[in-house]
Amino acid sequence: MIRLVSLAALLLLWQIGAWLSDPHRLPGPVAVFEKIYEEALSGALFSNLAITLARVVAAFALAMSFGAAIGYFMGRNKLADRLLDPWLVALLNLPALVVIVLAYVWAGLTEVAAIGAVALNKLPNAIVVVREGARALDPHLEDMAWVFRFSPAARLKHLVLPQLAPYLAAATRSGLSLVWKIVLVVELLGRSNGVGFEINMAFQLFDMKLLLAYALPFVALMLGVETFLVQPLERHVSRWRRGVSRRLDRI
């Protein structure tokens, strides 16, 4: 309810701003929604959103799986941690733009370079968060699993993943928002489709309606993924913390 009020207030402010300024600088909501409708009818909006979303998913999956594996390894192995930590610090401090440009220079303006560059930008953060989780694994449970001869699969499924879940959720949350943003930059610099490419086109033509017609649905999509995918997933993995969950599970 409060969210709706806040959203309505934002729309109102936008409308007022549009009245006060030149429509070429800030078109009003109605004009933008008309443009969105137009782009949707032609199919361009959806294909561009889908392409961008696919890049986000690919880069995110790549960064999270490598990040989780490397982070776990560094969290459990002191020598590996000491060896790899300087690399990690370097990667953490490397500007996103440098990674992207280098990737395009070395691998060409290709899909692999684009997705790889985004994944590489997210990777160090995933490593750091999962490493923290791996360091915090309960040694008491570790001993218990050893005594009862847990298989490696059982250990991973019942011992490691449940303990890493809050860290993976945190990495997912911060990672998704980072990946969304960097994918647009990568598209702008070296791809010929996707939301970032369209926004660049709109910028070149100074078409603010087109720019907003891509920016808004994109933000809406991000919010949708966060609200309907990430948050429910987070609640699901931490349900054992709440006493009532057991009963809810059975209903």
């Binding site: 008491h140 001993d143 005594v147 009862f148 847990f150 059982a154 449940p162 057991r246």
Partner: protein, 254 residues
């Protein structure tokens, strides 16, 4: 220098530890166990009694193979399938009671798990999560988990500590019944002499740290029929043996 073999023999559990030191980052090593020997026949329950901090948990960790940094040898029962209840329950907090048992004993049938839960009075708690359980119940779940794997050797670390008197008595009777019926070779460690007499066929009285066995005492079986007076006589004998062992010069320890 250590050797944990799985060879069976007349004696089911044969422990001979020359020394066990802990190395802290700073300072000199801390000797937890020294020249500790004990032998437990197959199917018997041994109760190790010693003051807090003498090295009882350390001893169990060495027997369980959780710590291999010691000098000495430990021969486990044949097959060496281990069941253990730690001093804390150590259940998986994100899994239900029955899942906790199922995960530790994946080859055991559902019917057997259900029967075990029933036997330990846990049937109505099968779907509960560990945080919904009292300490007494959580201990019983940990015990059920240790029994579910059908162990050749059962290790129990202070199974009754921090329970109130009535709960401790119930659980003690339950443990005594379970290990008597199943004839599992069991090693229980406790700081409480009465508890040890109630649970063990054989008592091992430990010194203060570094721990070694000061005296060994047999408890007449079957324990269940042990009269209160008889238990008191054994207790008096144990205290006498302890006093005598302590009075003797240290080089005479076996």
């Amino acid at each position: 220098m250590n050797d944990t073999s799985r060879a069976g023999g007349a004696a089911s559990l044969d422990v001979s530890i020359a020394s066990k030191d802990y190395h802290s980052a700073s300072g000199r090593p801390l000797r937890a166990l020294e020249d500790l020997r004990l032998t437990l026949p197959a199917g018997k329950a041994g109760a190790v009694v010693g003051p807090s901090g003498c090295g009882k948990t350390t001893l169990l960790r060495l027997i369980a193979g959780l710590d291999k940094d010691f000098v000495g040898t430990i021969a486990l029962p044949e097959h060496g399938r281990l069941g253990m209840a730690f001093q804390e329950p150590r259940l998986l907090p994100w899994r239900s009671v029955s899942d906790n048992i199922r995960i530790a004993a994946p080859h055991v049938s559902e019917a057997e798990i259900a029967a075990l839960l029933d036997e330990l009075g846990l049937a109505e708690h099968a779907t509960h999560f560990p945080r919904e359980l009292s300490l007494g119940l959580a201990r019983r779940v940990a015990l059920a988990r240790a029994l579910a794997v059908k162990p050749d050797l059962l290790l129990l670390d202070e199974p009754l500590v921090s329970l109130d008197a009535a709960l401790a008595r119930d659980l003690r009777e339950m443990i005594a019944r379970l290990i008597d019926e199943r004839r599992i070779t069991t090693l229980i460690v406790t700081h409480d002499l009465r508890e040890a007499i109630a649970l063990g066929d054989k008592l091992f009285l430990l010194s203060a740290r570094p721990a070694h066995v000061l005296a060994t005492l047999d408890v007449p079986t079957p324990r269940r029929h042990l009269e209160k007076e008889a238990a008191e006589i054994i207790e008096a004998r144990a205290r006498e043996a302890l006093a005598k062992a302590r009075a003797e010069p240290p080089q005479s320890k076996q």
